[in-house]
Amino acid sequence: MNASAHMMREGSRTLTELESKAFLAPAGIPVVESRLARSREEAVRCAEEIGLPVVLKIASPEIVHKSDCGGVRLGLRSAAEVAEAYEQIVLAAGRFHPEARIQGVSVQRMAPPGQETIIGMSKDPQFGPLLMFGIGGVMVEIMGDVSFRFAPLTPNDAREMIREIKGYPLLTGFRGREPVDTDFLERLLLDVSSLVESHPEIKELDLNPVIAYRSGAVVADSRIVLEEVSNG
């Protein structure tokens, strides 16, 4: 059963991080592997299998802004830290969102630091899927430094999207920074474009952050909203 069918049966529209990643990985979009742990013990076991350090995030279809409610813990380096974090996250999330269905926590390898970027998609009522690219953090949130193109993208569209943002020098080695793999980001944009074209039921998509490195990039967190389908 694919993620899409699963969520429609539950009548839910926003996919959890784990379900989103199940959408992305088959489309060739590199994601940081996440596993769902339903208990403290399971979280420790997952962490040991994946390899420390790890990140724990609350897994609930109702909780979109996971860090706002204490639902994210980064850089956990031991089994004890993982166990403690599990308890704290579930408790904090439950306190903030008493109505939320908490499935457990997602355990993922701590992605090495790199340049955070954002890829998003929303639907324009006239022209269809509109893709967005930006540099993560303040550049998007405060500066609004983002670029847009309608899907399907041509390779040139993807190229322009990345070069058009004001923060582009941050990607090419500004003042001794490590340059990142913009060719890879271009291919990633094209893959996201193909994904939303082949899945018209995707209404919104947020890959945030997409951590870019000298070679390659990886989606560390993601959120997908599906069109409401009333097929019982």
């Binding site: 269809g128 193109r149 919104e204």
Partner: protein, 485 residues
């Protein structure tokens, strides 16, 4: 049937019928009949009215079904409730094209209006193509068809085609174009777009060989994504200049939020223009200025501009306008600067770009040497001339013949044209709206004469330095995108 042959009767009809002429000559049907007759001396035009036998000295046909078979375009001036049945009659009689100028449909917001409109929409596939309702129709001078009531509009045809929802703005465009040196191939106001809409016209203009560039005014869209694709396709080969009305700011605020709210309609349209390569303009003057630059100048993406003006302030203003339009002020090489130094007055005037001729009425020989030096240098792709008197008559009306009485060279006005032709230089001239208080009327008439002379010789004449630079900037950007040097 292909789009060209389907749409042909709207633009090049064999014979036209006006249904709904009336004894009351002020009524739309009668006005249209008379305008069409005045506009074309060769196109057969038949009036239709069941209660008249003769109208303006012409026999009246009692019904659509009694019309000669050669009629392939019908104007319906009838109350809304009678329109659907008449369209059916046209279809049954084998008439392929109908223009419905009248209102009383969706736009009045009543249930009856919506029902009548739905009926028209359903008739659109029945072998007859419809323009309207609620529009001013079509202007196609080569086909003898004019928009209402444009009986006196130019009969000369050109390479610019235009479409708009709004009839009033189509009429404005047709009326204003000639002054900008723009000649129209076809202009269509499609109103409620029951059949022919923005997409139909894009597809037609893209395939139509006589259309060299396209202008448009849009409010909403009926064909979102398909229109996007059609415009992208068209803009690859024909400059496409669109005025999208009804856009409000707010994009900046929205951009701070998450993806969903980043996609406001302002964002969508900005993306539309970026991605299709169509050129966005923000008003009628802007549209005319831009099309005028495209109409007169050869394709170039050279962004280096030389500014020739009379006075230091004008030069500074021109420099600002140049950069704001995304263009670059050309740097002159030493040889050119030396030539300018030897030509211009030793004091005051700038010998670099912008070239300041010191006064708005430089000696003709000086103006010629300056323009030739800049054109020869190869440093600039375009020359923009601002605040310079360009004819002996203009100098006289400005009173400068008294200041420099030794100058009376009738070839003065030919200087920019010679530079345009002999050096293949892109030249733009700014002619301000201002007239000297003493000789207002004569000066204005002389400006019109000069404007037409320059336009006929491939030089656009704009009314401000900002509009000249904006038009040029858009052209450079457009051809750069197309990879034209």
């Amino acid at each position: 049937m292909g789009i060209l042959s389907e749409m042909r009767p709207f633009f090049y009809p064999k014979a036209v019928a006006v249904v709904g002429v009336s004894r009351e000559t002020w009524k739309f049907g009668s006005v249209a009949f008379s305008a069409l007759r005045k506009f074309s001396s060769t196109l057969p035009i038949y009036p239709v009215n069941s209660r008249l036998t003769e109208f303006m000295g012409v026999p009246v046909f009692p019904s659509i079904s009694s019309l000669p078979k050669e009629v392939d375009l019908v104007f319906l001036f009838l109350p809304a409730a009678l329109v659907p049945a008449s369209v059916r009659e046209c279809a049954d009689h084998g008439i392929p094209a109908v223009i419905i100028p009248g209102g009383g449909f969706r736009e009045i917001g009543t249930e009856e209006g919506w029902c009548l409109e739905a009926e028209l929409v359903s008739l659109a596939g029945s072998g007859v193509r419809l323009i309207g309702p609620n529009c001013f129709g079509v202007y196609s001078p080569a086909g003898g068809i004019t928009i209402l009531p444009g009986e006196a509009y130019p009969k000369k045809s050109g390479g610019v085609s235009f479409f708009a929802q709004s009839g009033g703005l189509t009429e404005d465009f047709c009326g204003l174009a000639e002054a900008s040196g723009i000649y129209i191939n076809h202009a269509v106001s499609f109103g409620n777009a029951c059949d022919v809409n923005e997409l139909t016209l894009c597809e037609y203009f893209r395939s139509d060989e006589k259309t060299k560039m396209v202008g448009g005014y849009l409010e909403g869209l009926k064909t979102g994504r398909r229109f996007f694709e059609a415009v992208r396709e068209m803009a690859m080969t024909k400059p496409t200049v669109l005025w999208k009305a009804g856009l409000t700011p707010g994009g900046a605020k929205a951009a701070a939020s998450h993806t969903g709210s980043l996609a406001g309609s302002d964002t969508a349209w900005r993306t539309f223009f970026k991605q299709t390569g169509a050129i966005q303009v923000f008003g009628m003057e802007d549209l005319l200025d831009t099309l005028s630059v495209f109409s007169h100048l050869p394709p170039t993406s050279n962004d280096q501009v030389a500014i020739i003006c009379g006075g230091g302030g004008a030069g500074v203003a021109a420099g600002d306008a140049c950069y704001r339009a995304g263009l670059t002020m050309a740097s002159f090489d030493e040889k050119t600067r030396e030539k300018l130094r030897s030509t211009l007055a030793p004091t005051g005037a700038s010998k670099n770009n912008p070239v300041d001729c010191d006064v708005p009425f430089p000696r003709p020989s000086v103006l010629r040497s300056v323009l030739e030096a800049v054109a020869e240098s190869g440093c600039a792709g375009s020359i923009v001339i601002d605040k310079i008197a360009l004819s002996v008559e203009q100098r006289r009306l400005l009173g400068c013949d008294k200041q420099v009485p030794w100058e009376d060279d009738p070839w003065l006005e030919e200087v920019p044209v010679r530079v345009r032709q002999e050096y293949g230089m892109t030249v733009l001239i700014v002619q301000r709206d201002w007239n000297p208080p003493l000789n207002r009327e004569e000066y204005d008439a002389e400006k019109r004469r000069l404007r037409r002379y320059y336009q006929e010789n491939g030089i656009p004449v704009l009314s401000s330095i900002a509009s000249a630079m904006n038009g040029l900037g858009r052209m450079v950007q457009y051809y750069r995108r197309r990879g034209i040097p």
